[in-house]
Subunit: 360 residues, 2 copies
């Protein structure tokens, strides 16, 4: 078999090898069923068992209270950018958005189609290199929306913002869901595309308090009402069965590795090592402000675009894939989600050190 | 390895073993890339190559003219039920729907939210057991929508209805796409969830003439405008990369097996054998009218519910899975899409004959 390389992709991203191996062994026959996992009817006993186990694991791993629904939808976070305000923002109300990056802006842009929007804070003044400390909320927002981790800019909220009384907290957690313990009861809704911390692309996890599920107008298209999916256990229509199955395997892997507390410890150690190296480097500098740095996406530059390009090219050749930074930040980005192995961090630091030594 | 059984599931459904084997061999490393197919960035060279090959194969196999876009979306046919009228039915216009089953009704119900709807024909009077021969169109419909194959009722259009001048033809082809040659130029839009003839659930193929792509209002949510996906080659946001990859493998398999003409010949032979047996049987009777029978879903009954149940139970024990009919028709349904092997038809006929002999 081909040797696996270090995959720093921002998403779809590296997955645990144990998960890939288990998926592989069930492609032609799920267990002893004689039917591959992709070929099972979503209404059949075999898949229903997979679905129930995945939901139960999600509730257990995520500590999700009984008064929250767990939904597995399609369309990615981008469809949630529209669905959330369609269902939760009345035309005469205001929603507050915390503007900490490009994805927060996209979420806000969709909300503007349905009601009023207020920017409660923004870090655009410094190219989104930090998480603002204070928010100026509107008088009575319907909800407060934030992006817990900003994949492009390498910043992450240390803890949830506190919305004003009466406003629900909504979070796009696509790039740090289940990377650390969460107090779900603080949220009205959390959503996340699976392709960073949860599994393959093509399924979106939505965790939503029961009363919000039923708040949306009933004249929306059936597929765009949360209640449709909640009433039908995410099977109003054929769900992305294979993607849900793989999410279940990833959740099992998280559970076996200490749950969310285990993930947090592992992620702090991994990112800590890398930031420590960058802090003392004479060549590479982190781009995010120390108090706002992400444990998921570590962004850094040399300060010289040519040298950045030389580094990326050398890294690719040496088996470090996906390190080129997003064009809006430049430089480099190491995406090191839950499943990224610690040995890959050690190898990257060694490679950075060597490159610095040879080009310094 | 566990022996594979005969899988008559209506969808997700049986897939070619060669496809499953190729997918399996690329789960931990796509070719020699060192990164599994699910883990590759959708922006990276390796996946872009997969995407381009899949689209090119789709155009080649389907004979899709250059003035049509090929899109790979999420949300299934059910989201298309809403997206099509959102984009193509102005509030003051009428769309004509051919009511040939439960899915046609669901499509019509969503269209009613956006404009007027006219039922150009219906076979509800005989529990949708036939395809009406004549349509009574409204004066100037914006489009005419039909469901080419009715999975639940086992009926299928022999050829496309001819819409009145000026009206575009829109087709939900979820359960018979690419099962026979198609003249795409007759259509404004064809859409199909992948999970019957194209691959795993979680991706929807949309084939749409260029002028329709740009017809939708620009104040719709970005994800619900066809132009968003067309402009971005289905990568406005992260697409369901693995599902698209598998669709590509299935298209390759179709091409290697004679393309759509090969599929038609194979499907006619498979369904022909089964209907011939049912026609002469003293116990089992097809439920669909002879001129309307589907080559994809063969529905039949004994006329005795207890005997139906006894048959389904015996069939399951003998390794014939998924034969229980939909509750709205009862009896049995054999879904025998492109990938269902002819040997499985022979085995089923043998089993039917034996059951009839022992219980007649």
């Amino acid at each position: 078999m081909t040797q696996r390389i270090w995959n720093f992709s921002a998403g779809p991203a590296v997955m645990p090898e144990a998960v890939l191996e288990e998926a592989r062994s069930n492609l032609l026959s799920l267990g002893t069923s004689g039917i591959g996992i992709m070929e099972h009817s979503h209404r059949g006993k075999a898949f229903l068992k997979v679905y129930e186990e995945t939901e139960a694991l999600c509730r257990e791993v995520g500590g999700i209270p009984a008064n929250y629904k767990v939904l597995f939808l399609q369309g990615g976070a981008s469809l949630q950018f529209a669905m959330a305000p369609m269902n939760l923002l009345a035309k005469d109300r205001t929603a507050d958005y915390l503007i900490t990056g490009a994805w927060a802006e996209k979420a806000r842009d969709e909300a503007q189609r349905f009601g009023s929007v207020h920017a409660a804070c923004s870090s655009e003044d410094a190219n989104f290199s930090y998480i603002p400390g204070e928010c100026l909320f509107s008088a009575h927002p319907a909800y407060v929306h934030f992006t817990s981790n900003n994949t492009i800019f390498g910043t992450q909220f240390r803890s949830e913002p506190t919305p004003p009384p009466g406003a629900d907290l909504i979070c796009d957690a696509s790039s740090d869901i289940f990377s650390r313990p969460l107090d779900i009861s603080k949220y009205g809704m959390i959503y996340a595309g699976a392709q960073k911390n949860l599994g393959p692309s093509g399924v979106t996890l939505v965790i939503m308090r029961d009363d919000l599920v039923d708040r949306g107008p009933k004249d929306l298209p059936a597929m765009l009402q949360y209640r449709t999916h909640a009433k039908n256990d995410s099977m109003y229509n054929t769900p992305p069965t294979f993607a849900i199955y793989v999410v279940g395997l990833v959740l099992k892997w998280i559970k076996e590795h200490g749950g969310l507390a285990g993930m947090e410890e592992r992620n702090q150690r991994k990112a800590g090592k890398l930031y420590s190296y960058l802090e003392q480097s004479g060549m590479f500098k982190p781009t995010a402000r120390p108090d706002s740095r992400s444990l998921m996406n570590v962004t850094f530059v040399t300060g010289n675009e040519e040298l950045d390009a030389k580094f990326c090219s050398a890294a690719t050749k040496a088996g470090f894939d996906g390190l080129k930074g997003h064009r809006s930040v430049g430089g480099m980005r190491a995406s090191i989600y839950n499943a990224f192995p610690e040995a890959g961090i050690d190898a990257l630091i060694e490679f950075l050190r060597e490159f610095e030594h040879q080009n310094g």
